[in-house]
Amino acid sequence: MRMLHLVHRSWPYHGGAERYVLEHALASRRWGHQSTVLTTDAWDMSWMVSRRGRHLEPGRLVHGGVEIIRFPVRHPPLQNLLRGLLIRLAPGGPDRYCYPNPFLPSMARWLRRSRGWGFVHANALPSLLYMGWRHARREGAGMAAVPHANVGEPHRRTQAVRYFDGAAERVLRDSSFVVAQSSFEAGIYRDMGVPDERVLVLGSGIDPDELRGAEPAPEALGLSGEVVLSLTAHCRDKGSVDLLAASRELWRQGSGHTLVLAGPIMPDMEEELAAVAGELPPGRLVVTGYLDREDRLAWLASCDVLALPSRLDCFGIVLLEAWALGKPVVGCYSGAMPDLVRDGSRGFVVPFGDRRTLAHRLGVLLRSPGLRRGMGERGRRMVMSGFTWRAVTDRFYSRLAECGQP
């Protein structure tokens, strides 16, 4: 069967949803399918809605036998105003129409002309889910909707549901099945009217071979003392501001740890860093910017604790990577983290924004090498038992085989 995967960014960009889609596209060959990935030319998310940010060359390439087609994001003049008008004036009302965000006219043209796809696997952005759904309906193809929804914390359920404005709700209800990354996310889809049997709680995975042979090398990176690593796109909602505040509290108490903020820094976090930069102890904060896959591994292997106190991550593949290397994690009551971490077992979970608790849990872990080892080992066993890409993609394609053509 010919499968179409839609995602906002793809290889060589290395992010959670991007990796998820690529792994599914690569695994399709194992199940006798042929995959094509449609994506945009954006490298930074800001390129989706403005001319700011980096981007790649549009075009076609083949990676691992999977064809990847990058379509250019267009930035018409007054695009924000245009979007606002489209939302209000487009025929059919909000339940029928999804405003194009980002503008991808060439992808829409390509989809109109293209025929012969048996299944559409649409991911992440509501507009891509919508384009995939329209194409699947026209072609009579099956469709898996994977919103990778950053659904926030359970007690902010109202905000989580608001994520699915407009046509997204209808897209989910009409899909052959909907993939959720956590039981919390799955609950929201059920409440939105997606039948229970059409919700698949899948999660994400890692490739253990990629992590094999990774050895800590703090000297080569110039690190000293214990290392707390946060590997994400840093912004307020990802908990980076809280993590920095918690670290400053620990430094005030005499802790000698180094905080590593690895990954791109978003504008709100830049402001925070600029505001406090002069007050930080020298050499204790490391800011790396975007890391490619090989560099990620060096930093992950060299850390003592991985922190992701974020309410934006629907899953958090980096937690699995840390566990696979035997590192404990500190997460947040959000997305899949409470299920994965189980407070006190494979790490700690703290409420989002609770800096004092975060500082306390980090302090406990930094002072106790034995506790770190135990939590890391429990995490490693869990990852190896069912959170590899092979296991995850096999679950997806088994489900796809069961549902057949809608």
Binding site: P12, W43, R54, H55, L56, E57, G59, R60, L61, V62, H63, G64, G65, E67, G213, A214, E215, A217, E219, A220, L221, G222, V260, A262, P264, I265, M269, E270, E271, L273, A274, A277, G278, L280, P282, G283, L285, V286, V287, T288, G289, Y290, L291, E294, L297, A298, A301
Partner: protein
């Protein structure tokens, strides 16, 4: 009979012969050596005969380019493996023997290369395989990246390997007809790899093995740009445009030439270079699906650290710039991830640097060789750094933990304290 023949092309390389002779002496247990002199007028051939009396020296009739000179030697090769080695590169016996074992064990691999590091700055990579951009330009993967620790894997499949230091199967080189002599210099190795890959061969980087390479020792940057332009025309016509230049390539060239004209420069040399390539007949290569996977995309709008200015850094001239600095309009900047400083002697000193950055916060290390000497942090604005350089160290590098997102890093002042 030794299993490997080392092939080295010389052109005005007298200054490099001493190091090359030392490299070849070390490789002697496994290697025969063939040197090709591309008609150097400075006595390179005679000096090479004296420095390496056991090597076989071939004299080309004229300077027909790197690929054509290599082809002369490849015709004479009788061993099953060929080590392509530039005179400004070095590979040790241990690395060569590991590469040989790898090729013997992996029958599908056409060639492999070690992780190449910059000759005097081993914390930075000079190449980890090579690839081609979507404009037909070859480039070294990880070129000028700060890489104190190599990737923790035995071998990595890469789109191609560099001709500066790589071990090849002779049968592959013979089967492909060697290098394409239409390329005078640059990207001919990428072209060769793509042709070999289209026949099903693979290429591997062995990151745990290391070699050294002096970047840009063979040509000046201005001339190199024109050779790169000519080579990219050939590559784009052959692999991307079905024998003709693709529209995207032409659009970019028009933009470049319009920019030059707007700055008051007539792009006469570019026109001449393009005219030369028009005369060449280029047969398109059908890339096929697997072949296209060679095109490893490089994010074209990411900063590409290719700083090349190497003048005095301090007002008194005591500190000199190593690689990684750029100087324009009286400003000295570090556009990439790292840059080097050269001290006048190894007597130990404190170096004061005033750096300014528009990024909210940058952090990094300074070090010598592969050792980290200390850490620094750079909040937004101007920061005075004090680097403590111990006795015995002349070359110090500054390396950011990441790239300078949000603006370049400028050097306002440098002095020995």
């Amino acid at each position: 009979m030794r299993p490997v023949t080392a092939v080295t092309v010389l052109y005005r390389s007298r200054g490099l012969l001493e190091d090359l002779a030392e490299t070849m002496r070390a490789l002697r247990p496994l290697c025969e050596t063939i040197l090709v002199d591309s008609c150097s007028a400075d006595g390179t051939a005679e000096a090479a005969e004296r420095a390496m009396p056991r090597a076989r020296l071939l004299r080309a009739e004229g300077n027909r380019g790197f690929g054509a000179a290599n082809n002369l030697a490849l015709r004479e090769v009788e061993t099953p493996f060929v080590l392509l080695l530039n005179p400004d590169a070095r590979v040790g016996l241990e690395a060569l023997s590991a590469m040989l074992a790898f090729l013997r064990e992996h029958g599908e691999t056409a060639a492999c290369q070690p992780l190449l590091r910059l000759w005097d700055w081993p914390a930075a990579a000079a190449g980890a395989g090579c690839s081609m951009t979507e404009y037909g330009e070859g480039y070294d993967l990880r070129y000028m990246h700060y890489l104190p620790q190599p990737p923790q894997v035995g071998s990595l499949r890469v789109p191609g390997v560099t001709a500066a230091a790589s071990l090849w199967r002779s049968e592959v080189l013979a089967g492909c007809g060697g290098f394409d002599p239409a390329f005078f210099m640059y990207f001919e190795d990428v072209d060769l790899c793509m042709r070999a890959a289209s026949r099903g061969w693979r290429f591997h980087l062995l990151p745990r093995l290391e070699g050294r390479h002096r970047s840009g020792a063979t040509s000046g940057r201005e001339q190199a740009r024109l050779w790169e332009l000519e080579s990219s025309v050939l590559m784009a016509r052959r692999y991307l445009g079905g024998g003709r230049l693709p529209a995207r390539w032409l659009r970019r060239e028009l933009r470049i030439q319009a920019g030059m004209l707007a700055r008051g420069h007539l792009p006469l040399r570019r026109w001449r270079a393009l005219a030369r390539t028009r005369r060449l007949r280029v047969e398109p290569v059908d890339t096929g699906v697997e072949h296209r996977s060679l095109l490893r995309s490089r994010p074209t709008h990411l900063p590409l650290p290719r700083g090349s200015w190497r003048g005095p850094l301090s007002a008194d001239g005591a500190l000199t710039a190593g690689p990684g600095w750029e100087r324009a309009g009286g400003r000295t900047a570090m556009p990439g991830q790292w840059a080097g400083l050269v001290l006048p002697d190894g007597s130990g000193a404190d170096v004061g640097l005033a750096m300014s950055s528009r990024a909210s916060y940058l952090s990094g290390v300074y070090g010598a060789g592969n050792d980290v000497l200390g850490r620094f942090s750079l909040p937004r604005g101007r920061t005075d750094l004090r680097l403590r350089v111990p006795r015995g160290v002349r070359r110090v590098h500054l390396a950011l933990d990441g790239t300078a997102e949000g603006g370049e890093l400028r050097l306002e002042d440098a002095r020995i304290l």
